[in-house]
Symmetry: C2
Subunit: 246 residues, 2 copies
Amino acid sequence: MKIDAVERKCHANHEVKCSDCRLAAICLPISLELEDINKLDNIIQRGRPVHKGDRVYHAGEEFKSVYAIRSGAVKTVRNTKEGEEQITGFYLPGEILGMDGLATNNHTNAAIALETSAICEIPFTRLEELSAKLPNLQRRFFQLMSKEITQDQELITLLSKNSADQRIVSLLLSISSRNAQRGLSNVDFFLPMSRSDIGNYLGLTIETVSRVFSRLHKQNIITLDKKHVLINDMDELRRIVTTPDR
Amino acid sequence: MKIDAVERKCHANHEVKCSDCRLAAICLPISLELEDINKLDNIIQRGRPVHKGDRVYHAGEEFKSVYAIRSGAVKTVRNTKEGEEQITGFYLPGEILGMDGLATNNHTNAAIALETSAICEIPFTRLEELSAKLPNLQRRFFQLMSKEITQDQELITLLSKNSADQRIVSLLLSISSRNAQRGLSNVDFFLPMSRSDIGNYLGLTIETVSRVFSRLHKQNIITLDKKHVLINDMDELRRIVTTPDR
DNA sequence: CGGGTCATTGAGTCAGCTCAAGGCTCGTGG
DNA sequence: CCACGAGCCTTGAGCTGACTCAATGACCCG
């Protein structure tokens, strides 16, 4: 079975230490010495793989840990005052999530796997203790939270100022560059999320997302087959996001 | 002169220590012992008041400090890819800004005074050193960054899911409750920002902001005279932000 | 092969935009 | 002390990008 194969693969990786993880260069351990990486490694818990739709943590759940993605993809979701859902982020391998829970000691978001994923759990009190001893780690963690802030502000700008086309192209370019960072292709990749997730995240309806994708495909800027994206004209995509609306 | 009077008032407060500051209960020192507050106090620099339009820091400027507002009000502004401006936050007394600069070591936002304001500057390397020694301070600062994240995500949700009316009412309620926290009236206050700032922040045109304010006034839910707001029907405002669009 | 989920496409509507015309307020200079 | 200009805000009229509603297509899984 396909799923079993994926699971087995994840399981094979399951006990990889930070020092051996191919994502170490973009994940939490950046700028740590080998010795310090091992200290960090000792506090990290590596759970069983989560499957599509499983929650890494729930909204309202007590904040105990932050999480690093080793493989797969996760979305974070907030509940609105009206009882709808708002996706606040997509997280790919090497990225850290869960920092929303720190302010109130409860997670304001839920985190839901978009596909079978391997997750490293990092108990926060231990991370805090270790941070106080390792200035580089403290700095690194401050930086990660700051990065989360600047990314959220980028999304605010996108939602506030940009057209449907620009929002969708921005998301494509974001995924493309994050793939490149992980050593994958920046022009040929699979979207881990549904059209409906994309629409929710970008403040658009599913129909609008579909129409924009169709148009970009017809104009031969991208080739799209379900979730498989080929970027044919990167310059044109960049032009779209940097050109004022009218 | 009016401005001189304000300056003098700020100047009078100018050297107030954290331990004597009436905002200590909501500002950075929360949860610190008196002794530790004094340690924090020692690293804080209190500059001259800034005037309306002055920048506390510039976009691209090297990140050296975070800032606490003692009096007045400040907006933070990002440049978009198209060269426009996006306001990412409004900061009132007791609130901390500048955490956006940590990720890349340069501020991505500029911070601009909306009125004459007194600002406490907190050099970050010293704060970092002190955090490593005072677990409560480290935790407190992590929490402040996390709060910034959850607030940005609230704005994302607002922009993505809510109507013009709901966005504007949300801002009014936010300012109202932040005023209450500082011991001021939650139904009678002055908006520190212009209509154009409000529109920019909420992803609306200035005309729409004006029309919504006029409508709320005509319906007698609020009374509005320039920047002076009186909330007449708090329940109705709450109803507006929690009622699904249609 | 049937039912469910997800995606696409078309047709018509509407919230918020653009464009345009004034109004109010405050500071400056005659 | 008033006239004038600049900046900010309000209001009206008409337009449009993205929405809603609706129908259909494609795929997956049992």
